[in-house]
Symmetry: C2
Subunit: 126 residues, 2 copies
Amino acid sequence: MTIQEVATKFSVSKDTLRYYEKEGLVGPVFKNDYGIRNYSEDDLQRIAFIICMRSAGIPISVLKQYVDLYEQGADTKEERRLLLEQQRDVLAEKISQMQKAYDKLVYKIELYQDDKLDDYIGGKEI
Amino acid sequence: MTIQEVATKFSVSKDTLRYYEKEGLVGPVFKNDYGIRNYSEDDLQRIAFIICMRSAGIPISVLKQYVDLYEQGADTKEERRLLLEQQRDVLAEKISQMQKAYDKLVYKIELYQDDKLDDYIGGKEI
DNA sequence: ATAAACCATAGAGTAAACTCCAAGTCAAGA
DNA sequence: TCTTGACTTGGAGTTTACTCTATGGTTTAT
């Protein structure tokens, strides 16, 4: 699969794919005699994982750590599990924060619909 | 309330509070003869709102827009409600993305607990 | 055979949101 | 009185994650 196809499939730019590879999150992807990338099924699965985690805001540095552990082999399983558990907890916290903000927004929108909101600068409810 | 007290109350840095003020999200906060800030109750409510929205990832530019509309008075109510509705939808989408990533993490952790994960580089399941 | 349309690399540039620094003012305690 | 510590400002610096640019090679259609 060419870089353009992968980029389209995952709705990211080709630059981003090359950037992830340079950072060691993906690949190294196989290249033909002219240096053109040809993504394998395994590459695609890795990319899917990375993009999913990135879309949730998990930093590249953490994903890089995980990938590095993975490439060190079975000895690091425990460490990898721990890392995933930490990130799961971070995500849970973030989701709860966003839910709070969401609820506040919904409440505020209701106030607007009921025309119950202050109109003036410095009012209690912005 | 002094800047230090506010910073402690909301677990942000004093620099961040001054930065928000410079960007026009908050205040202008009242200053005494020596230029020292004294935050009012209204300032605190505004700060609570801003920090809640920021913690959910809503950009400063969008919050600035909202604040600006607010300060233009009652004529902008409709526009403000629309803006909030848009941000509510953006948040909903983000929460769903993060939930997906969370579920994937939980599943992966289960695999680790059951020792069902590939150990080798390039394996299907990273 | 030449231009269009891909691909490549290295490295510079960008945007967002802080975060830090230098230089200075003021108030209180030893 | 002098030092310590909290505050001020303007502006520079940092981090993260891309994104773009310049330059150049390869295939394909006219």
